[in-house]
């Protein structure tokens, strides 16, 4: 009976994620005026998250895992957090993109569930981090309002950023061989975190601030030298993945911000030479590359992690083992770096592939917001955030599938880990805040144009301002076309 229920649940999960994507499609068509069905896609889409949780609860309850996700309290708490955030975000971020909110909630929700299934305590922690992140997200508009002129703070960003990435050298907290962890002590409790995660946002603000206006050689030079310094520091801290993410963000913003193709190309060439030198020079880099080329050549050494990850992804095929029926805990660091394998193992290959489509959807919405922004600074920030998350997703999924060399970065919004989760949520809320400002500006523009038109019509009727009317004619006709 349980097995039958699990078999059915495999199809249900694939159904939910497919519907989730179909609703997004419907929403986009509606938004573009290509369809007029008046279905409330974004609401249905959000409800799928709740249905997902109910299904999960039933399956977990039946299979007897009642302390973790099988406990009613846990699933209800998770669902309530989702609902409250959904309602508040609608109010606080008026005009923001509901599809983007739904997508990140779907991923956060899925992350909490799969982590909890692997390790109950870790799952509870993740739930707490998610809550914390979402609360900060709701506060972002207030915080950003307080900061004066965020676009001109270039040098301040530089100082903060360097301070952050250098922090681990002074407050060291080595985890998993990487030297990029640090800690702070609050109320006598040691809280460890990754400063390089926090520095991501500052870095994007810094570059956008430099590239926002006519570009001088000085600004491009400053951006390049700073980025190179950051990347080198991260390489020294053995955080290769984050170094690569910073580098790709630099290339992207350099290209979009300045249009300097020569420099972007040159940077890529230099980086390739640099990686080759790293491959030859650093043994820990060489091991990763070799085990990527053929994990079977050293199944208990360098190839161990990727091999175990591929076993996890592949053993139960397209449909997966069913939630709670696989053995993802065999894979090392499955809760963070290899969370994608765990999802592939239990929810199946089709689900895992559709999950990538959700990421594509997120980046599509972010790109859309970047295109709608009037200020260049805002556009650059949004593009920076989008491509940073994009590159990170490609790196880690490619890594755990043995398609790219493994760089230990987190899967955005799903992997266990407070720093990464909270920072990613904040990034998305910044994007949404910019979208909200775009919409407010647009609203104001429309209102102003309306008032203007009324004013002119009124005066024409009185026979006044004959000349002015002629002068404004073009403007009015342009606005009425909008």
């Amino acid at each position: 009976m349980l097995k039958l229920a699990i078999l059915i649940s495999k199809y249900l999960y694939i159904g939910y994620i497919s519907l989730f994507l179909i609703f997004s499609w419907g929403y986009v068509l509606e938004e573009r005026g290509l369809s007029n069905s008046r279905v409330r896609y974004s609401m249905h889409q959000f409800n799928l998250i709740l249905v997902f949780n109910i299904t999960t609860y039933i399956i977990m309850y039946l299979s007897g895992m009642r302390s973790g996700i099988g406990s009613l309290g846990f699933i209800v708490t998770l669902s309530i957090i989702m609902v409250i955030f959904k309602l508040l975000s609608k109010k606080i971020f008026e005009g923001s993109c509901p599809i983007l909110w739904n997508s990140i909630l779907f991923l956060i929700n899925l992350g909490v569930i799969i982590i909890c299934r692997i390790d109950y305590v870790l799952g509870l922690k993740q739930l707490m981090f998610a809550m914390l992140g979402l609360i900060v997200a709701l506060m972002m508009p207030m915080i950003l309002k307080v900061v004066p002129k965020i676009e001109i703070l270039g040098l301040i960003y530089l100082v903060v950023m360097l301070g952050l990435v250098l922090l681990p050298f002074f407050y060291k907290e080595s985890q998993g061989g990487s030297l990029n962890w640090s800690y702070i002590t609050i109320f006598n409790r040691r809280i460890t975190f990754q400063p390089s995660e926090l520095a991501k946002i500052v870095y994007i603000f810094f570059l956008s601030s430099l590239f926002r206006k006519q570009n001088s050689k000085f600004k491009i030079g400053l951006a390049t030298i700073t980025s190179a310094t950051l990347v080198i520091i991260l390489v020294i801290q053995k955080d290769l993945g984050t170094a690569l993410i910073y580098f790709m963000t630099y290339i992207t913003l350099l290209y979009v911000g300045t249009g300097n193709i020569t420099l972007s190309g040159l940077a890529i060439v230099l980086a390739s030479i640099g990686s080759f030198v790293a491959y030859k020079g650093f043994p820990h880099v060489a091991v990763r590359i070799d085990s990527w080329k053929n994990p079977l050549s050293d199944p208990f050494g360098g190839g161990y992690q990727v091999l175990q990850s591929l076993f996890s992804m592949g053993t139960y095929g397209y449909l997966g083992s069913g939630l709670g029926q696989g053995y993802p805990e065999i894979v090392p660091v499955v809760e963070s770096d290899f969370i994608y394998s765990a999802i592939g193992e239990e929810f199946g290959g089709i689900f895992a592939i559709l999950l990538i489509v959700i990421y594509i959807l997120i980046f599509y919405r972010i790109a859309n917001i970047a295109l709608r922004s009037n200020k260049k600074f805002n556009s650059l920030v949004v593009v920076g955030i989008g491509s940073l998350l994009y590159v990170q997703t490609i790196l880690i999924i490619g890594g755990v599938m043995g398609i790219l060399p493994l760089t230990g970065v987190t899967l955005p919004l799903i992997s266990a880990g407070g720093s990464s989760l909270i920072i990613t949520i904040i990034m998305i809320s910044i994007v949404q805040w910019i979208q909200r400002n775009n919409m407010i500006e647009k609203k104001l523009e429309i209102e102003e144009a309306k008032k203007h038109r009324e004013y002119i019509i009124e005066h024409r009727n009185r026979g006044l301002f004959e000349k002015d009317i002629k002068a404004y004619k073009d403007v009015v006709s342009e606005e009425s076309e909008e």
Binding site: K3, L310, F311, M313, I394, M401
Partner: protein
């Protein structure tokens, strides 16, 4: 007014360019993501099956008590392994022993098809149907394996090797498809006594796939290909064999120090003349031979359904003595009977080496075929011309050379004998070849450990090919 609108136009143009750059970044990243999706689909379609069944995957050893594992059948539909009351039951007696190494079992030190196909045997075909019915019956049935192995041939091969009283291996396969017809290893063990302990290790070793042996003179086939590639007029080039050769004080002798006189490559293969190959090796060098060997699966992964050892060819520079030794199949070269029969099968098959396989197809509980193995080529690194020339030479080996004891106008066997000196006292006997030589139906490798020369080996070859013809 005019100036303003111009400026505005410029501004709009700039904005358009700026937006296009954003679109470009999105599309570039999208392409990367699609590439990842395609790679994942490819992983599920092609790579995952061979990978996840490896015993390195801990999930292989996890058994689901609700699933009745499927059976393993030979090519005649004989049940070699099945599940009865939750326990695996195997053939008894000689038949069981002949299949022991191939079938293996599932345990920590497990091996063979039982381990490598443990997941496949537990995979529930037509799951929804079975699960609904299972509400009453409680159990569901896993998939079945159908082998290319012919149980009768398997048993006969095993009997032959047991009669010879030697340890060793016999493999028979179809060179045109790679279908393995028989694969046995001696000593074997009865499933009833199959309790693994260190002292029994020798019995558990599958000599056909995991035994690494010096190939001896059989390796001269590989050396010949190198000579054909590097000595353009090898057909007419003559060498005077005096029974021994001395280069810088390094001496190589022919068998019993017989002087073969003035010979070409063809005669050298026919008579298995050591000095000819030692001389040629000294002329050509080690690198060219390594190149050929690596094209023929040495130093590379060998893809097979159960565990296979990698054939090894020296990767270092060698001195004159080792160089000459390597050319006659001694030296540090090590190979498996499976690799040698694959190479010689390739020679018989016009240079196309087919990938050997033992699982013909997998069926579900209703007998519906789920997955059928398609014959596939490993490579065609032996050219058609080379294979034709080699075929002529290998025919002569049996007609009038070292294998003439099995000269038989009906069976038309071609192949190469070998006796690999392991120590002064111990010599392994080899024969690897195929029949009939004008249209090979079967390739065979017989290896007998510690058997002085290849006489006993040849007897077995003749007997088994005769039996195969009767099928």
């Amino acid at each position: 007014m005019e100036i303003e609108s111009k400026e505005e136009k410029m501004k709009k143009g700039m904005e358009g360019k700026f937006k296009n750059k954003i679109r470009f970044i999105f599309i570039i990243n999208l392409i990367f993501m699609l590439f990842i999706i395609i790679s994942i689909i490819k992983f599920y379609r092609e790579d995952s099956f061979g990978l996840v069944n490896k015993t390195l995957n801990p999930r292989v050893f996890i058994e689901d008590e609700n699933v009745i594992k499927g059976s393993i059948y030979d090519s005649n539909g004989m049940e070699v392994a099945k599940t009865v009351d939750g326990r695996r039951v195997y053939k008894k007696g000689i038949m069981g022993e002949s299949f022991f190494h191939l079938i293996g079992y599932v345990k920590e030190e497990g091996f063979g098809l039982e381990s490598n196909y443990s997941l496949a045997l537990q995979k529930v075909g037509g799951e929804l149907n079975q699960r609904i019915n299972a509400i009453e019956e409680k159990k569901v049935y896993g998939n079945n394996l159908h082998l290319t192995i012919d149980g009768n041939m398997q048993k006969k091969a095993y009997e032959q090797i047991v009669q010879s009283g030697k340890n060793g291996s016999i493999i028979m396969l179809e060179p045109s498809t790679g279908k393995v017809i028989a694969m046995v290893s001696n000593p074997s063990i009865n499933y009833d006594n199959a309790k693994y302990n260190k002292s029994d290790e020798k019995k558990f070793l599958n000599r056909s796939t995991s035994g690494l042996y010096a190939p001896g003179s059989v390796f001269k086939v590989v050396s010949s290909i190198t000579i054909m590639e590097n000595r353009k007029d090898y057909e007419s080039e003559k060498y005077e064999c005096t029974g021994h050769i001395n280069i810088d004080g390094n001496i190589i002798k022919c068998y019993n120090e017989v002087a073969h006189g003035e010979i070409t490559l063809e005669d050298a293969i026919e008579q298995s003349c050591n000095t000819y190959f030692a001389y040629m090796g000294n002329e050509i060098g080690i690198d060219k031979l390594r190149e050929t060997a690596e094209k023929l699966n040495f130093n590379g992964e060998f893809d097979f359904e159960i565990e296979v050892s990698k054939s090894k060819f020296t990767k270092e520079e060698v001195g004159t003595s080792e160089l000459m030794q390597t050319y006659i199949g001694q030296g540090k070269t090590l190979t498996t009977p499976l690799n040698m029969v694959t190479i010689l099968g390739g020679v018989g098959n016009g240079g196309i080496m087919m990938k050997p396989y033992v699982v013909d197809y997998i069926s579900d509980y209703r007998g519906k075929v789920v997955n059928r193995t398609k014959p596939s080529m490993i490579n065609k690194n032996i050219t058609l011309e080379q294979s034709t020339k080699l075929n002529d030479m290998l025919i002569k080996v049996v007609e009038s050379g070292t294998g003439k004891s099995i000269k038989n106008n009906e069976l038309k066997i071609a192949g190469k004998t070998g006796s690999a000196e392991i120590t002064e006292e111990v010599t392994h006997g080899w024969f690897v070849g195929y029949a009939p030589y004008d249209m090979p139906k079967i390739a065979i490798a017989v290896l007998l450990e510690d058997s002085e020369n290849s006489k006993a080996t040849l007897k077995i070859v003749e007997k088994l090919i005769e039996e195969y013809e009767k099928l």
